[in-house]
């Protein structure tokens, strides 16, 4: 059986199995094993793309090129480490009574279904199926956000459902508009929604319709990326769910939504030759950066604070892809990778910290370095990494972004720097007392596994210091591919 079927089939079958046995002790091991199998499949597929370039599978239904195969690998990797982290974490939650065995079954099967949805979205060649897969991923996580059944969690999940539902409906309208103009060129069948064919024939699509379609797609998929002003659901959803879910939502789902947006931008650039799509993305990206950086200061809940940091970084990435030059695309792709790794690492750490102190309120978490040095140092280093300090990868990608911006839009460097500085100040002002403050009395000893965190941070460090040659080539190919449309 080929690697591709393995990639898609494993999560789907595991989801079904978990629906039955997800509450047993062995479930966490199965979770890890299934994720590891998909990781192997993903790496195999990446190797294939490296060797022979992009290829399609199952006729023209699925498509793997440099851009999405690295995202697939990243998703598989973070899913595996999250599964490793979630094992002891959810066991602890079950012990203290925050989840029942029914809900644990739901958790495990929805986790796998969510991962399946993401793989489907990343590898499909059909814009309609892309929409369906993203919606599926959203639906799988809605019930997980409300897993703890507290008033705040249910309110957060409802907000998530409604706002993302509306957003994604607008994205469907944009997809319909693309189909409206492409069906006149490619016929009234699945061909008119196939990305590879659309990309090749982009010049023949009507520019006016494509522009309007992109505006709807930007607002629609942008809601799922967390761009301001459509971000209202994000802090709640990422803050109230169980920590592994916050990690994958922040680290993976936002990436997949941005991936969908950038794929559509490539089509629109080919059709309009005007650069409006890029300008819109830059505007939204900058706005998200500034608003999120300011909002960081006012947060009282640690997870909400870091989810605003996610909004800020997604804004940076959107800005990078909006600029559209190969250098900017490279920066964006690198940033996607390191942000995923560092942010999920941070969320793991935060999850442990919250468990240790029994609360998520920043004001009640103090002196981590004294009673749980692993967590304390992990949090400090993670915050340093995500704020863009060298030698971590985030510094590299931001530096590249500034360089690219200086080439094309020098005026943008000032607000970018401003946003980054404000965000850094906000994060540190909250994290510093959490790590180094006076120790309170109610710290609990817990069984923690900091290995995933260290692995993630280590990878981010490597990517910052010395990107391996094959990876750099990979990014470069993808960057050129994305730029190529805007001839």
């Amino acid at each position: 059986m080929n690697l591709f079927d393995l990639l898609l089939g494993t999560p789907l079958i595991t989801a079904v199995i978990m629906g039955v046995i997800g509450h047993t002790r062995i479930a966490t091991k199965i979770n890890i094993a299934a994720s590891a199998i998909t990781l192997v499949a993903a790496l195999g597929l990446a190797y294939q793309v490296l060797q022979q370039g992009s290829f399609t599978a199952h006729g023209q239904a699925f498509f793997l090129d440099a851009y999405n195969v690295f995202l697939v690998s990243l998703t598989a990797f973070v899913a595996t480490t999250t599964a490793i982290f979630s094992g002891p974490y959810m066991m602890h939650e079950q012990q203290i009574g925050r989840v029942t065995s029914n809900r644990l079954r739901l958790y495990h099967s929805m986790f796998q279904l969510f991962v399946f949805g993401m793989y489907l979205a990343l590898t499909t060649n059909n814009l309609g199926v892309l929409w369906i897969a993203l919606e599926l991923a959203t639906l799988a996580t809605v019930l997980l956000v409300s897993l703890y059944r507290t008033p705040a969690a249910i309110a957060a999940a409802w907000k998530y459902f409604i706002l993302c539902g509306v957003g994604i409906a607008l994205a469907l309208f944009g997809t319909i508009l693309i189909f409206a103009t492409s069906s006149e060129v490619l016929g009234h069948g699945n061909d008119a929604l196939t990305w590879t064919l659309l990309y090749d024939n982009a010049g023949q699509l009507a520019p006016g319709v494509m522009t309007i379609a992109f505006m709807f797609l930007l607002v629609g998929y942008g809601t799922k990326v967390g761009l301001v002003p459509m971000h209202a659901w994000l802090p709640d959803a990422h803050g109230e769910g169980p920590t592994p879910i916050s990690a994958v939502l922040s680290g993976l789902l936002l990436n997949v939504a941005l991936y969908a947006l950038v794929r559509c931008k490539a089509l629109v650039d080919g059709a309009t030759q005007g650069g409006l799509a890029g300008k819109l993305m830059m505007g939204f990206g900058l706005l998200s950066l500034l608003v999120a950086a300011l909002a960081l200061h006012r947060q009282r809940d640690i997870k909400r604070m870091f989810s605003f940091s996610s909004i800020e970084h997604m804004g940076l990435m959107t800005f990078a892809f909006g600029i559209g030059t190969p250098l900017a695309n490279f920066a964006g792709l690198l940033h996607m990778t390191v942000h995923s790794l560092v942010k999920s690492g941070i969320f793991f750490t935060v999850g442990h910290a919250a468990q240790a102190m029994g609360t998520q309120q920043i004001i009640n978490i103090r002196g981590l370095v004294n009673h749980h040095p692993g967590i304390g140092w992990g949090l400090m280093i993670g915050t340093v990494a995500i704020s863009g300090f060298p030698p971590f990868g985030v510094f590299t990608s931001e530096f590249l972004l500034f360089t690219a911006a200086l080439h094309t839009h020098p005026w943008a460097v000032v607000p970018l720097l401003l946003g980054l500085v404000v965000a850094f100040a906000g994060l540190f002002r909250h994290v510093q007392p959490m790590v180094f403050g006076a120790v309170p009395d109610n710290a609990m000893p817990i069984n923690i596994n900091m290995l995933p965190v260290y692995v993630h941070l280590g990878l981010a460090l490597i990517l910052g210091l010395a990107i391996p040659a094959f990876l750099a080539d990979w990014y470069q190919t993808a960057a050129d591919l994305l730029h190529g449309a805007a001839r």
């Binding site: 369906i132 599926l136 705040a152 539902g165 409906a169 469907l172 189909f179 009507a206 909400r304």
Partner: protein, 218 residues
């Protein structure tokens, strides 16, 4: 029948869709709301069948049948069961200033006409006039979601929006490929199921389905 008359039948169907969406906006009783929602599903199916006949696209008949079964019968029935189980079928939503909402709705119709003009100019389809109406139905359903107080009317607004998107696909493109239509319908069904589960959770935690209780807690 001459093509001009066929186009007028399509225009009549579109006007009916618009009327049904406005009626949905103005309802205050749960029972009446769900009846109008079911009617929207039926009108949608009839419109799709009409477009299938006018434009000679046989695939659309299947979509129309799917729409009839799912959106005309299954979804309203599911919602009705939930409403009965939660004991809400006698409840009336408090007045949310219907007149102002309806006038905003009329302004939205004008706005969607303006947005759809370039698309309509380029389209060659028989149904091109109705693209503006379809977009208006989408925006009106969204207005419904924003201006309502009870969770279940928000859900009806969401489902009405999905119906309007189906109508948009029919009018702008003679319907999306069947695979995509089935996938979207499947997604909507799952969403409705999850909504149902949600209502019970919300009821259990808040003892009411008023959105005010779900408002910002931070």
């Amino acid at each position: 029948m001459q093509p001009a008359l066929l186009q007028q039948w399509v225009a009549v169907a579109a006007a009916m869709m618009l009327l049904v969406v406005f009626a949905l906006l103005a309802q205050r009783h749960m029972r009446a709301l769900l009846r109008w929602f079911a009617l929207q599903g039926v009108v949608l199916a009839l419109t799709s069948a009409l477009v299938a006949f006018v434009a000679n696209v046989p695939e659309l008949y299947i979509s129309a049948l799917l729409a009839l079964i799912l959106k005309g019968f299954l979804l309203p029935w599911m919602l009705w069961r939930i409403v009965i189980n939660l004991g809400m079928h006698r409840e009336v939503e408090p007045l949310v200033n219907v007149s102002v909402t309806l006038l905003i709705g009329a302004a939205l119709v004008l706005f969607s006409f303006y947005v759809s003009l370039p698309i309509e100019k380029l389209s060659q389809l028989v149904t091109r006039n109705t693209i503006a109406i379809a977009l208006a139905c989408v925006l009106l359903s969204m207005l419904m979601m924003i201006t309502r107080r009870k969770a279940i009317t928000q859900v009806v607004g969401f489902l009405a929006m999905e119906n309007s998107l189906f109508f948009t696909a029919t009018s702008a493109t003679y319907g999306m490929p069947l695979l995509v239509e089935i996938g979207v319908a499947f997604d909507v069904l799952i969403a409705a199921l999850i909504f149902g589960l949600f209502f019970f959770q919300i009821r259990k935690t808040f003892d009411s389905l008023d959105i005010e209780h779900l408002e910002d807690k931070h």
